[in-house]
Structure formats: C-alpha cells, structure tokens
C-alpha cells in the first residue's frame, strides 16, 4: 500500500509559488473575459501542458468524472442559450478554472507556501492557517468519507435523510473541527511555533530562471489567446 518510490519534483514543483499563483490568477481572470472556444483552448492547452510537465496523473475514472461534469454544464448551457459556441466556451472556461489555479495546490508543498507568504505583510499566524488548510483538508475529507460510510452502515437506524445529514455528517464534522484544533494547536506549540514569533528558514525560496521562462511562456499563451479572441480567425 505504501509507495516506496517518490515522484521526483519537476521544474513546475520548483517554481516560486507566487509565479504559479500569478499565472493561475491571470489565466482565471482572462478566461472570464474570453468567449471564443478557440481562445479558451489556447489557455487550456497551456495548462494541460503544465500538468503534463508536472507529471500530475489523473486516473481514467477522474478523467471520466471531469468529462461528465463539463458535458453536463455544457448541455445545460446549450439548453438555455441554444448556442453551441456559447455552450462550448462555457464548459471550456470551467475547464480553465479547474486547471489554472489548482495547479498551484497540486505542485506546491506547504513549506514553500509558508515561506512565500512569510515574505508578504501577512501575519505569521495567517500564513500558518493557510498551510494548515492545505495540509489538513485531505485528512478531514477522508474523515468525512468515513462518516458517510458509518452512516451507510447505520442504515435506517440513523433516521430520515435530514437526520442522517445532521447527525451523521454535520455533528461529527463539528466535533472533528474541535478535535483537530486541540491536537494541531498542541502539536504546533510543542514544536515551538507562535504566531507572533520570528522564524528562520531552512531552504529560502528564490525565483530563478525557470520562473522567468515559465512566466514568459504563460504571457505568450495569454497574448495568443487574446489575439484569437479579438483579432484573429
């Protein structure tokens, strides 16, 4: 069950978090302004190349789920607008949102994010809070999955749908929040963390040549996309 081979960090993993964040945010914002499918395809193509370089692999089932989701929203949009181009663009815009900034989350480890955030005026506690969300979201999501399993096992003894959601999911999740808070607070303080205290840095983050190249490539993709939207074809 345990992987004994680490996935090697790619050039995308080594980029400065702010570089990835900036590109993702700009692409998300630009996607909102584009309505030609081809223009959106340029942005989406760039993001898919980045995902491939980062060796982010999705299972066939995950690809199928994403495809199904995009098909559903595209179909619903078509039924509302009766415009194939509009519906396709709508789905592609979603696809850009699904890839643009989440790449940051998938290819940035919490330590890099803490360091990057500590270079901003954000309070240390807030930077740590963001790290904790990234770090513990998968754990709590797994706990929620187990709560749903426990609710399934209880069957009708758990009551109707509303009671199953309330007692079977919301109440346990509320307790989970408190339990996690107590344990993580203690763990942080036992390791010497205090929000107001200065910290040194094991491996300082530096933007390098890779960041420049990546930003330039992203800028080029954005320019091409904008040209396709407003000038070309």
């Amino acid at each position: 069950m345990f992987l004994h081979q680490d996935t090697p960090a790619t050039i995308i993993h080594r980029l400065h978090p702010f570089t990835k964040m900036a590109v993702g945010t700009v692409f998300s914002g630009l996607a909102l302004c584009l309505y030609r499918p081809l223009a959106l395809a340029v942005l989406l193509g760039f993001m898919l190349v980045v995902l491939a370089v980062a060796r982010v692999r999705l299972s066939p089932r995950q690809w199928f789920s994403i495809g199904l989701f995009l098909s559903v929203i595209s179909t619903l949009n078509f039924l509302a607008s009766h415009d194939t181009c509009h519906a396709t663009a709508y789905a592609m815009r979603f696809a850009v949102f699904l890839t643009a900034v989440p790449i940051l989350a998938l290819t940035t480890d919490p330590r890099q994010m803490t360091q990057a955030l500590s270079q901003t005026p954000l309070p240390g506690g807030l930077a740590m809070a963001l790290i904790l969300v990234w770090r513990f979201f998968p754990l709590m999501a797994e706990e929620a999955r187990q709560m749903r399993q426990a609710a399934l096992l209880r069957g009708s003894a758990a009551g109707g749908v509303a009671m199953r959601i309330y007692r079977g999911m919301l109440v346990p999740l509320a307790f989970c929040v408190i339990d996690y808070t107590d344990r993580i607070t203690l763990a942080l303080e036992l390791r010497g963390f205090t929000p107001a205290q200065r910290r040194t840095c094991h491996r300082p983050l530096k933007a390098g040549a890779a960041d420049v190249v990546f930003s330039a490539a992203a800028l080029l993709a954005a320019i091409v996309s904008a040209w396709v939207q407003w000038e070309g074809f």
Binding site: M1, L152, R154, R191, Q197, T200
Partner: protein
C-alpha cells in the same frame, strides 16, 4: 531531572480530580513507563509536564513540578518545549510539511536555529533513529513506523533532554513495535530521560528501568503484567457466515494488487483473527466484506448476501463493523442512545454497559469519553443489534489489560450465543485469546493457521 510534588488537577466542569497528590522523582537518563487503566490520569500528567495544562486546557492545578532543576510554573508550551519533547499519539496531526528534511527543520525554524546549523542537526537526528535513508522522502509515502521515527528525529534535533511519548505503540505493527522499543533503549543509554505513557506494559516493562502505575489519579503499586488473556472457548462451527471466493483487490491508481485470489470461509460460532503488517489490507478486507469497497475480481458472501448485489445497509442489518476509530460511529447525544438506537431488545442498554465496564455513563455525551471507553461503546452498540457477524478492527487500541479481558469475555458470550467474529489486531495477546483460526495477509496473499 523531573521532580513532581503534590500534583493534583481537576478539569474545568468536572467534579472529581483527574490527578490526586502525585509525587515522584525521575533521574537523568532513566526510561520510565507510566501506565494505568483508561481514565487513570496518564494523559493528564503528560499534558501537565508539557504545560498544555494549564496554558491550553483550563482547570484547577495544584502542586509543583521541576524539570532540569527549574520550576515549570509560568512557562508557556513553547518555552517548555526547549527542555521537554513531547510526541503525541497520532503522528498524522503533528506533521506540517511534505518532506522529511523539511519536517525536522520545522521545529528548528520555530526556535530560530541559524540555517547553516540545520543540515547537520537534521542528518544527526535521523542517524540516531536509523532513518538516514529517509532524508529526502515524502512523508505521505512512509509507513506509520517510519513516520514515527521521523517525528522522533524532529524532537531529537531540538536537543531536548527529556522525551515524553504518548502511546507510541498504538498504531504500530509487531515489527515496528520491536524496532521502536530497541530505539528507546538505545536513546536512554545515551543519556536521554524518557517517559513513555503506554497501556502495553507487556511490550515495555522489560526495557523500562521503572514503572509508575496510576489508578484513579493516584500512584499505586503496579500489578503483574498480563502475558495472556483467557482464551475464548471452542464451539462447534456451523453454517458459513462469511465467504471470500478468489477475491482480488487493487487501489484505483495502482498496477499491483493489494491482495490476489484470497479465499476463505468463516463459520457460525467461529472467531478468526486477521494478522498482517500495516498496509497489508486487513481493514480493506473488512471494507470488502461490508460492501464499502468493490473487489476487482471474485465473490464475497456476507450473511447470505452477495456483496455488490445488495445495499450496504442490507448487509449491515445482519453484520456489524466496528471501526478502528470509534469517533466516526458515535452520533447520538447520550451514551444510552448510542446503544438503544438499533438495539433489538429493551434490556440491551444496561446489559451491554455492564458487560463492557461502562455503567454510570448512560447520560454522558459519547464524545466526552476516553478513547478506550468510546471503543467499548461502539462495540456495545454493535452487540446490542445482535448481529450474526461482527468485524472488529483493532479492538485493543486504548484499552488497558482489565478492559481487554472484559471485551474478550463479552465476545466469548457472543460466540456462544451463535455469533461469528472476524478481528484485525496487532496485539499478539488478543490474537492468541480470540483466535480459533488466524489468517495472515502477506505479500499480496494469505496464510491460514
């Protein structure tokens, strides 16, 4: 090194003391086992030593504590952490980074250790725990035992003279437990003062120089170690209750199966114990039996239902699955309601509470109980439904010897009354007591004995 005088503590909103006038001295370099039944005050003592009580957890604290000849009164948890390293039970909630080297560096960064000194300290601490090969690994790829070693290295890197470990054996398989105990022995011989808070006295008594045994918040003479429990009786096995036929299973993204072509049967009145290292598939096998996961190949029949052809709730009408983590299965506001909901007769509440040492807790909120009590409560709720089959995942975690004996006696009655049991456990004594037969999951296959 550690001196405790007249230590008493009562949690806010509780009527009785968790600790009463505790006094002891621990010399430098000693390895001491702190044990006792569930609810005896071990964890409370640990939390006082690291200053979580009273800085994070309010209550009435009396008495004095000295560590390294200095009173700890008025110190924050962070200030105390310079002298005393505390390893919590669940390592998962103590890691904040992705890589081993970064995780060890996290504490060094918090204490403003100059970056140029960090690499040496990281390497040295990993060498001490025989984990140098883990330096550049991602934490998510490590086993439970390896992660624990990394967290120990993180404490050792801070050069704290005292180490306190809370239930370090709880989630380790046998091999990892042996490695851990040997490591603690070695660190103690190097001069570290070590306190281990643990139920598993059998695993640690031979190595600890001393034992402090707590009962009801007081230090008492330690009883003998239970090297074994009374075995469940043999009953005449009848019809098949659980059958796996050529079952294979692999996780979604993996090419190699977790296990392949597993076949076995469990009959009525039988108790079968599942053995295997962490990650061998014991919990997954139980999920498959209840229909919570789907096999890649093969057929599973649980209580006359073919899994996959009926819903999970239909299977759970006849089979009960007691999770490793009891919190997920507690959903009522009162202990008595947990047992009453789903029980088939009116006497179930009192009967099961009495059988599992939970009397007097009827009106308590289930989440206010200790981990051991919660685990017994989920078992009580399962027994109250009078299922044909119970699947038990690691019933011994958080249980002291007396509680374990109680659980085994109750399960013996369950078997006598026509029940069937499949238990996954790392605790060898529990396995010996419960097993009519064992199934060991190993290298993708199984061995029956």
């Amino acid at each position: 090194m550690i001196r405790v005088c007249g230590l008493s503590f009562r949690y806010a909103n509780q009527s009785s003391n968790a600790l009463r006038h505790v006094e002891f001295d621990i010399r430098a370099g000693e390895m001491v086992l702190v044990s006792g039944p569930t609810g005896c005050g071990k964890s409370t003592l640990g939390l006082i030593l690291c200053r979580a009580i009273p800085t994070l957890i309010p209550g009435d604290l009396a008495g004095r504590v000295w560590v390294n000849d200095k009173s700890i009164e008025g110190l924050s948890v962070r200030e105390m952490a310079r002298e005393l390293g505390f390893l919590l039970q669940n390592v998962e909630h103590q890691t904040f980074t992705e890589r081993v080297s970064d995780e060890i560096a996290f504490g060094l960064e918090n204490f403003c250790v100059p970056p140029e000194h960090m690499a040496t300290r990281i390497e040295e601490s990993l060498r001490l725990v025989q984990g140098s090969h883990l330096l550049n690994r991602r934490l998510a790829t490590l086993s439970a035992g390896e992660r624990q070693r990394v967290m120990l290295a993180a404490l050792l890197a801070l050069n704290q003279r005292v180490l306190v470990l809370d239930e370090p054996l709880a989630y380790l398989d046998l091999e990892a437990q042996e490695r851990f105990v040997t490591l603690m022995d070695r660190l103690s011989k190097k001069g570290k003062t070590i306190l281990i808070f643990e139920h598993r006295r059998d695993a640690l008594q031979a190595f600890a120089q001393r034992e402090i045994y707590l009962t009801d918040g007081c230090i008492r003479p330690e009883p003998c170690v239970w090297s074994q429990f009374k075995k469940v009786r043999d009953y005449k096995a009848k019809s098949t209750v659980l059958a796996f036929e050529d079952v294979s299973f692999a996780w979604g993204n993996h090419k190699d199966p977790l296990f392949a072509d597993i076949s076995f049967e469990v009959k009525q009145h039988e108790s079968v114990v599942l053995l295997g290292e962490n990650g061998s598939g014991k919990t997954t096998l139980m999920h498959l039996a209840m229909g919570l996961a789907k096999p890649c190949r093969g057929r599973i029949i649980t209580c006359d239902h073919e899994v996959g052809r009926v819903s999970v709730s239909q299977i759970s009408r006849k089979a009960a699955y007691v999770f490793q983590r009891p919190d997920h299965q507690l959903y009522q506001p009162y202990v008595q309601d947990e047992i009453r909901s789903g029980s088939v007769d009116g006497d179930a509440v009192h009967r099961e509470l009495a059988a599992l040492g939970l009397e007097g807790l009827e009106k308590r909120h289930p989440r206010s109980l200790s981990m051991g009590q919660k685990r017994r409560l989920t078992l009580a709720a399962a027994l109250a439904r009078q299922p044909k089959l119970i699947l038990l995942d690691e019933p011994s975690v958080g249980q002291d010897d007396a509680s374990l004996a109680m659980i085994i006696r109750r399960l013996d009655d369950f078997l006598r009354d026509g029940g069937t049991l499949l238990t996954a456990t790392h605790d060898f004594r529990v396995a010996m007591a419960l097993a009519h037969r064992t199934i060991e999951l190993k290298s993708g296959g199984m061995e029956q004995r």
